[in-house]
Symmetry: C2
Subunit: 141 residues, 2 copies
């Protein structure tokens, strides 16, 4: 078996997602920052970063800022999109607050099927479009 991943473990997905969020916000990120952000020891982060380097998803040298490779960005976008679809659905359709929606999205994003996500995304868009009308139905007795 080669070291390059076809699939990322749920843990590694969390790492790459956090790296991506820093990336799109132009926030320089080191291992120790990641450890603080994810509430994980520096040692564990160090291991995880080595794996991501081995999979060629990030570039990283000790004491420098972590950066994503092209593949890394693609992978991260996928993970982030999943997160967003779930969070948006929870907030928009189920009226869940932002924190709870985010926490649940974080966990579910790693295991839900792409097909369901696609349908969920469509449904949220549909719901937004017709929200007013649909919600009048809720007031009926």
């Amino acid at each position: 078996m080669c070291a390059n991943a076809q699939t990322l473990s749920s843990g590694l997905e969390d790492y790459i997602e956090a790296i991506y969020i820093a990336h799109i916000n132009n926030i320089p990120l080191k291992g120790a920052d990641l450890a603080r952000k994810l509430n994980i020891s520096r040692a564990s982060v160090s291991e995880a970063l080595s794996k991501l380097v081995a999979k060629e998803l990030i570039k990283y040298n000790s004491y420098e800022t972590i950066s994503l490779t092209k593949t890394g960005i693609e992978e991260a976008k996928k993970v982030y999109a999943k997160h967003h679809i779930l969070k948006d659905f929870f907030e928009t359709v189920l009226d869940i607050n932002s924190d709870e929606a985010g926490e649940n999205a974080c966990k579910i994003e790693h295991i839900i099927s792409q097909n369901i996500l696609d349908k969920m995304s469509n449904f949220t868009e549909f719901y937004k479009k017709h929200k007013k009308r649909i919600e009048t139905f809720k007031k009926e007795i």
Copy 2:
């Protein structure tokens, strides 16, 4: 730390759910049956059953049929209800086929918050009630 659980690991929830399904269908279930059903070795099932016995969720003696305690039934019902809410939502609202809905429910049921499940359940009921009308919106351009 005492051996009795406040929370069940996702694995143990799967075991107890399978045991519950046999229970409500009056199907006698032994460890080896469970192993076949869950595609897990007899050795691993044996370990898991010991844990469930320790937590007083099942009664079990070698070579006999597994049965649930009162607490076990309560726990199982909770897990099973979660499963059902998710599956029903996927099928009814997102129009996912039974297999895919079930597989995803199996994984998500262990991690989603009760609050979201409650809202999801309400939403599914609401959707069923107004399905016809809501779906006419989908045909609009």
